[in-house]
Structures are given as structure tokens and as C-alpha cells.
């Protein structure tokens, strides 16, 4: 249960940053992975 909560927090943080990155020109350091299609829509 605790592990699921921790994973949930990580997932929320990652999703939040992904949504910020989607509105940007790129990720904010010099590596740019392929952006998921659902974020580009």
C-alpha cells in the first residue's frame, strides 16, 4: 500500500512535469526524448 502511494506521488510529479514540457519548446536540459503523441495533441 505504501509502495503504491509512493509510486502514485512519483507518477503525479512525472505527469505534471510532462504536461509542462508539452507546452515548452523542449525539456529544459539537453536531452529530448520522443514526446508521446497524446501530449502533442
Amino acid at each position: 500500500m505504501l509502495k503504491n502511494k509512493i509510486l502514485g506521488v512519483v507518477a503525479v510529479a512525472a505527469t505534471f512535469l510532462a504536461s509542462i514540457a508539452a507546452t515548452s519548446a523542449c525539456l529544459w536540459f539537453i536531452y529530448q526524448p520522443e514526446e508521446p503523441e497524446c501530449l502533442s495533441k
Binding site: A11, A14, T15, S24, A25, L39
Partner: protein, 213 residues
Amino acid sequence: MDHLLDRLADTIAVRLQYTEDQRAVVRYGLVALSQTVIIFLLLTVLGLCFGFFPQALAVFFSVVLLRRQEGGAHASSLTGCLILTSFVLTALSVLSRFVFSRIDSAAALILIAVLGAACVLASWKLVPVESPNKPLRDPKKIARLRKNTFLLLGGYLVLAAVLALPKGTLPVSSPSIAAAILSGTVWQTFTLTRPGRWLVEKMDRPFRRLSGS
């Protein structure tokens, strides 16, 4: 590093019953999260140990906020990115704290004006710089990124100029923070240009061989 993030994304997707799209978004966000946390922690630890923490913060935020709007050169792998970015940001922070801050105020203001003008001109011609993994097609988004770029550039240059004024002119004066802001701005703008992309590719070559790409 990529394998670690893949495994973490898979674990999250299975445990939280995410769809494939949700898993992909989390995986993408984990790259951003790991880059940010690792580089910020490294700069914080080194900055606190060696006395350049405020300058490290100034370089970090000046680069990060500007890069979000401008884009620029990219490394071929996450590991390469982490090592190169940590190296460059640490070097700029150290130089700002111990070298550039010794430049006298008049010379610093001239440098800010000249380098600032160069950054504005380069950004006017080049921003935003897209990546093959994140193409930029929406004209409204491109216009917004350009507008934000020049707002940020203007803010940075004014702040750097204020901080570079001689002591006693204003209540705040910090030549080293001014240098940190300017050097972060110049570095980020440099990565937009062809020589900047060439340099990043050269620095990235050992990591490209390691990652097999």
C-alpha cells in the same frame, strides 16, 4: 539510466493500472524529473561545499527557464545530458563566483550590453529551435515561445545590469550573480547556434558511442 526509467514506468503502469498512453506520459515525465532532480542536487551539493551555491542557482534557473522557451542543441542520451549539463552549469557557476565577479562594474555593464544584444539578435533569428523528437508546428505556440523568450531575455538583462551596478548605487549589488545570470543566458543562446550545436555534438560523442546510437 534509460532502462531504470523504463522499469520504473512499467512498475507504475502495472501497479496503478495505467493505459499505454498514461505509461508513455509518465515515462516522458520521469526523464524531466530525473534530469531536474539530479542536476539540481549536484549543483546544490557542490555549491554548498565550495561556496558558489547562489551563483549555481542563478545559472540553473536562467538556463532552465530560457531553454523551455527557446529549445536548442541536444545530447543523444540521458546520461550524456546529465554529465554535460552538470559539467557546464558547474563550470559557469564557479567562473561566475571566482573569476567573472572580479570584473569592474563599468566593464561588466558593457559586457552585459554587448552580449545581451548578441543574445537578443541570435534569439530573434533562431528561436524556437525544434528537435526531431519534439517538432514545433503550431504557429500560435511558436509565437508564444518567441514572446516569452524576449520577455525573459529582457528581464534577465535588466536584472544582471542592476546587480552589476557599483556598490552603493542601489541597496542590492552582486557582480557574481549578475555574471551567473549573464553566463547562463549566453550559454543557452549559444546552444541555439550552429557552432553551439557542433560543440554539444562533439562533447556528446563519447556518450553516443557508449549508448550505441
